[in-house]
């Protein structure tokens, strides 16, 4: 099987869903003619034409609103909000229209839309092009948040998101785009985590870029005879508590690695749920996240800011001693 880059997996998922379902449309800033500023929509405009793949003005609120209104009238819009930082501008329609409609129509009309957005730090893009907006949306009932770590998952989970009948935020970490991996075409379901490395001493729950940092740390720790089980959450909302609990019951320790501010993040949500359901199994539980400050530009500062493999390994070593 040939290795496929993460960004190609995204493109392929869009391609296949556009081909499979006439109702799927794709729009956003520079997604059509130019093929996307991150080259994730290359060739789709040529293949499906301007009725189904089109460029928009720089009007994020209109994009989110158009997604909502078209989704309740039979289309399955996929919208690109270029950087996750710009989701603030799209937020009103998403939060106050899309995620409310199913409830307010007495569960008669669902809102099958997908918003794709590029997130994450480490690219030296500074405070307004590097954020991880997950925590802004964790408290919004009716919204799914998907966060893939590998090309195979990127493809399978994006396809599942587009097929899902609910509003889905699909996050793509900018530092994963060039990552290559095998894509076997297997399907994936939203809301299911994956144990990507088995271990016995501590359960490490993470997502996106964090999965790769975690695996790197686990390799290092293995040499110190510390066995780390790595759980890739894959969907952050709603998340797969059962898989996490099953792991914690075996390892008795949990660390959640989140790229995002420690206060109000999804890591806190995971720990709270584990404490509620498995307190008796826990010997230790903690978070590794980013400080409560904006993201700095300068490379040494950004590196200090991010929870990389080294920090993960150091903390686990210290806590397990």
């Amino acid at each position: 099987m040939a290795a496929v880059a993460f960004r190609t997996a995204i493109r392929d998922a869009l391609d296949e869903e556009l081909a499979a379902d006439e109702r799927v449309i794709l729009f956003g800033e520079d997604v059509a003619v130019a093929g996307g500023v991150f080259a994730t929509t290359t060739g789709l405009y040529d293949k499906y034409g301007p009725e189904r793949v089109f460029d928009t003005p720089i009007s994020e609120l209109a994009l989110a609103g158009a997604a909502f209104g078209s989704a309740v009238h039979g289309l399955r819009p996929v919208v690109e909000i270029m950087f996750g930082d710009f989701l603030t501008l799209a937020m009103d329609s998403l939060v106050n229209q899309s995620t409310k409609y199913w409830f307010l129509t007495q569960e008669q009309v669902s809102v099958p839309l997908t918003i794709r957005s590029v997130v994450g730090a480490g690219g030296r893009f500074g405070a307004i092009h590097s954020q991880m907006p997950v925590s802004w949306f964790m408290g919004v009932p009716g919204l799914k948040i998907v966060a893939a770590a590998t090309p195979a998952d990127a493809k399978a989970l994006l396809k599942a998101s587009i097929r899902d009948d609910n509003p889905v935020l699909f996050f793509e970490h900018k530092r994963l785009y060039t990552l290559e991996g095998e894509v076997d075409g297997a399907e994936a379901r939203l809301g299911e985590a994956a144990v990507v490395r088995a271990g016995t001493d501590v359960t490490l729950v993470t997502a996106m870029k964090g999965v790769h940092d975690a695996l790197e740390a686990a390799d290092v720790l293995e040499r110190d005879h510390i066995s780390v089980e790595v759980v890739d959450l894959r969907t952050l909302r709603p998340f797969d508590l059962e898989t996490v609990l099953a792991s914690v019951r075996r390892t008795n320790r949990i660390v959640v690695v989140e790229e995002g501010p420690v206060t109000g993040g999804w890591a806190g949500e995971v720990l709270a749920s584990v404490a509620e359901h498995a307190l008796g199994y826990l010997d230790d539980a903690w978070r590794i996240a980013t400080p409560n400050t904006p993201i700095p530009y300068s490379p040494p500062l950004e590196d200090l800011f991010l929870p990389g493999a080294e920090r993960i390994a150091t903390e686990i070593r210290r806590r397990l001693r």
Partner: protein, 326 residues
């Protein structure tokens, strides 16, 4: 937009010493951007940058009329605005290089530079955000110093809610704001015509805000229009709007080869390079070419020194940031 003929007419520039200074300023901005680009390609500047090359006449012309009590909100394409306001070029370069000695200690980088001491509220990375920042500044300045706030933004920003909300807000509250739309024909890779209904100016006029469209490549034309807009705002008559037609001579950002430009378009615009136009006019009005050559040489020497000093400056080593002011 009137085209400048091959041979510049004489007696256009009212103050030759002033315009010679502006020539130096524009050369510094262009040279700064060339330096940023070359350092970016060498891996010394990170992430992304959005260069101002080609648009220098606008920031330079407007800034030459601003007073100490005025304020400016720029965009991620903001190096030119910062320099025109008098931000120390070395500190600005050091910021791009991520050094401790940067104007924001390396925290901000190219897209987020700010320096209130230099009247620069900030460079705003969200398209349209500069307008809101300047709106608030205008609200305060009206009650304090009597200054005017200037918001720079691109043609692409005209489709953001920020513009409509702030235009109306400033108009009904009669706030001293000058909105300066730098129409360079493109938002990223998309031509402004293909995503913008009607005329830009008409949107301001619909809200009863006086607006004009001007040649953004001629620094003296920019100065004349800016003087009118600033006078309007200073007189307490509310906001004024300028659409300056211009062109960026480089890609949108570092990763853009500019494949969307029709063939020949860039060359056509380069024939109207604002620096070349100003130089021709200075010479036509009697400034000695040798003196202008000296200015160019001095500027390029200054940039060489800056480059060496910037690359020798230390990086920050610790991220010490308090979340809140005590």
């Amino acid at each position: 937009m009137s085209r400048v003929s091959e041979k510049a007419p004489t007696g256009v520039l009212d103050d030759l010493e002033l315009y010679t200074r502006l020539y130096r300023q524009m050369l510094l901005i262009r040279g700064f951007e060339d330096l940023v680009q070359s350092l970016f390609l060498k891996g010394e500047i990170y992430g992304t940058t959005h260069l101002y090359s080609g648009q220098e006449a606008i920031a330079t012309g407007v800034a030459s009329l601003l007073e100490d009590r005025d304020r400016v909100a720029a965009t991620y394409r903001g190096h030119g605005h910062a320099l025109a306001l008098g931000v120390d070029p070395q500190k600005l370069l050091d910021e791009m290089l991520g050094r401790e000695s940067g104007i924001n200690g390396g925290r901000a980088g190219s897209m987020n530079v700010n320096s209130l001491d230099d009247r620069l509220i900030g460079s705003f990375g969200i398209v349209g955000g500069s307008i809101a920042a300047a709106t608030g500044a205008a609200l305060a300045l009206k009650r304090t110093s009597g200054g005017v706030a200037v918001a720079y933004f691109g043609d692409g920003a005209m489709n953001q809610g920020y513009v409509f909300e702030c235009l109306n807000f400033c108009r009904v509250l009669k706030l001293p704001l000058v909105l300066l739309c730098e129409n360079n024909g493109y938002g990223e890779y998309t031509s402004f015509r293909s995503v913008t209904a009607g005329e830009i100016r008409g949107r301001a006029e619909a809200m009863d805000v006086p607006a004009e469209t001007i040649d953004g490549m001629s620094v003296w034309t920019v100065r004349e229009a800016a003087a009118r807009a600033l006078a309007h705002a200073r007189a307490g008559d509310g906001p004024a709007f300028i659409e300056a037609i211009t062109y960026r001579f480089v890609g949108h950002s570092r990763s853009d080869p500019g494949a969307y430009r029709p063939e020949g378009e860039l060359d056509e615009w380069k024939a109207r390079d604002p620096i070349v136009l100003l130089r021709a006019q200075l010479e036509a009005d009697g400034i000695d070419a040798g003196r202008l050559d000296d200015v160019a040489r001095e500027t390029s020497e200054q940039l060489d020194r800056m480059r060496a000093a910037g690359l020798a400056a230390p990086f920050p080593t610790a991220l010490e940031s308090k979340e809140f002011k005590d």
